[in-house]
Amino acid sequence: MLPAPLLRIRAVAVKELRQMSRDRMTLAMIVGIPLLQMMIFGYGINYDVRHVRAGVVDLARTQASRSLVAEIASSQVVEFVARPAGVEELRRLIQNGELHAGLYIPPDFERRRIDATRSVAQVIVDGTRPGVDTAVRAIQEAPLPGRSGIPSRATPAIELLNEFNPERRTAVQVVPGLIGVILSMTMVIFTAIALVRERERGNLELLITTPVRSAELMIGKLLPYVGVGLVQTTLVLLLGVLLFDVPINGSLIDLYIGACLFIAATLGLGLVISTVATTQFQAMQLGFFTLLPSILLSGFAFPFEGMPRTVQYLAQVLPLTHFIEILRGVILRGASLGALWQPVLKLSIFLVLALALAASRFRKRLD
């Protein structure tokens, strides 16, 4: 026979385990959270950046210039996926986010090769992406073909041009994405909880006996949160400019249109969660469950180029991935929404699917 305190402790512990085993959501989280974390941190996050999408503009077209391109490509840091006609087009593709780096070989490449005071080629890198600029930097050390006999250089053979973030400041890379992260955190959880709370407290049973329609109820509940989201966007943007000197190169209207689209998408996700969760606690759990991969896989802090293909596809499902693309494009690279049509389209598809799913699950009935 155990002493009384131990017996009572055991009684409480057994009761706790019983309750835990009956809460399917908590049970799923016990397994789900470590599984997700392991997958993300183990496979997803990798500082070893490879295959950065790049373009090459070779105006010299000599044997040496071609072997320089081959040399750089063989390092696998960059993958030359486009051959723009000129530097202008290369820059535009980087601005649109289609390419993240570029190699420019000028027409006078051969003359430069024998001149130790001039660089022979230029590498342009999108400085708005964390991890990518650092990785591309390694290209500078690429051995120049046929360099023997040339005196060691005073200037690096390959000049590196850090576009949109010449001072390589981390704040510039982080602050725009932070708008998306903060909106994800608040919007999803706020809306999910606001809806679930109403059901939990019995308010919904009263509401559905009134003439208010499902769509009216949804829109009325979500509208204030769109306002909250826009206030948050403005706040982060203002702090970014005032405290961290983040440049706003693009149009504010484009930025806010993009923000509205993202807010709507996250509210849609919140709605879906609210139709699945039965308690506020479950809504909170599910909210965090979607938040974690969003922050880690969206390219906010870690480069996609360091993630395996499958994880990169997974990241495409997350709305934050596309919003961060829009944010960096508009704020830092001064791109227009039209130029950023790809992430805009993907975000819109997410929004439509989320709303359709939520609407199909929410019924103005109890059964």
């Binding site: 407290r201 009263l206 509401l207 559905i208 009134t210 003439p211 329609r213 109890l366 059964d367």
Partner: protein, 308 residues
């Protein structure tokens, strides 16, 4: 006043294998208080929810205020008020804000809203705590606010699902006074309860048990028509008397009330009093035995007997 407010035929609702409501027939007149009496799980709430169009019946037909339910549920919503045992207004809004919100949802218009809010606050004595958060009100106050909210848009039909389960006896009395005042103005009220005294106040009554309507009529008529014989035994030792009665084949049910036993006998029993007296005498138990008038509880026990 002979018009029918609610009519249902063969109303059935199954949840998986279980029939929560099983072939209910209902015909409820306008301008009356009609009660659903039944234990928990007898299908009262499910029936009310089906009549409101909140859940769909598995089979059967429903007409409420001339509307085909659930097809015309949206039209019905303007004409009904609904209140549950659980306080379902917003606890973080004040009493007045709750009423203002509902007035807007029912699109009463600013003038009528102001007039109706003032009227229900006066009627249900809400004025003194109109600006307090609804969550801080007492059980009785919350219930008055709930009724004010349910009647704000002057519904023709009020559906009340165990509305008095969470309040004290005085609040229950007040509440029923309010209900009679509403019927005097022509409102039809459907109320579910498991209290006998409340059921007895209704104009008409349906006794529900395991999803079936096992009896219906006015409380007086139900008591008068009870086929069982009621015998009351007053004794010093009720548990011994109870043991003595055990095994009597015409005995249907015994309940103890203090020192009295209340026994129900099958209608075929020719001399219930005589047989009880003989059994008590055989065990040398003293007591008086007499025929008693049936109560609503006897009706309830009789109607639900043998089904559990």
């Amino acid at each position: 006043m002979n018009e029918i407010a609610i009519e249902a035929h063969g109303l059935t609702r199954r949840f998986g294998q279980v029939a929560a409501v099983d072939g209910a027939e209902l015909s409820i007149p306008r301008g009356r208080i009609y009660g659903f009496l039944g234990p928990n799980g007898s299908g009262k709430s499910t029936t009310i929810r089906m009549l409101c169009g909140l859940i769909r019946p598995s089979s059967g037909s429903i007409r409420v205020l001339g509307l085909d339910i659930p097809r015309q549920s949206e039209e019905l919503r303007r004409q009904i008020g609904y209140m549950t045992q659980r306080f379902s207004l917003w606890e973080d809004l004040s009493a007045r804000e709750n009423l203002e919100f509902l007035a807007s949802v029912y699109t009463l218009g600013p003038k009528r809203a102001a007039q109706r809010i003032a009227a229900v606050m006066e009627q249900y004595r809400l004025i003194e705590f109109q600006s307090r958060p609804a969550g801080t009100l007492s059980g009785g106050q919350k219930q008055r606010l709930g009724l004010a909210a349910a009647t704000l848009h002057e519904p023709a039909l009020l559906m009340l699902d165990e509305p008095t389960s969470a309040v004290d006896p005085q609040s229950r009395r007040d509440f029923w006074e309010s209900l009679f005042a509403l019927t005097a103005q022509g409102t039809t009220i459907l109320v579910s309860t498991h209290y006998m005294d409340e059921a007895e106040r209704c104009h008409g009554l349906a006794i529900l048990d395991l999803g079936r309507v096992v009896a219906n009529g006015s409380p007086q008529q139900l008591m008068a028509d009870l086929p069982l014989k009621v015998v009351e035994i007053e004794t010093e030792d009720p548990s011994a008397a109870r043991a003595a009665l055990h095994g009597l084949d015409s005995l249907r049910s015994v309940a103890q009330l203090g020192l009295r036993l209340h026994a129900l006998f099958a209608p075929e029993e020719p001399d219930a009093v005589g047989r009880v007296q003989a059994l008590l005498a055989a065990r040398r138990l003293k007591g008086t035995v007499r025929v008693a008038a049936p109560s609503l509880e006897d009706v309830f026990v009789g109607a639900t007997m043998g089904r559990h």
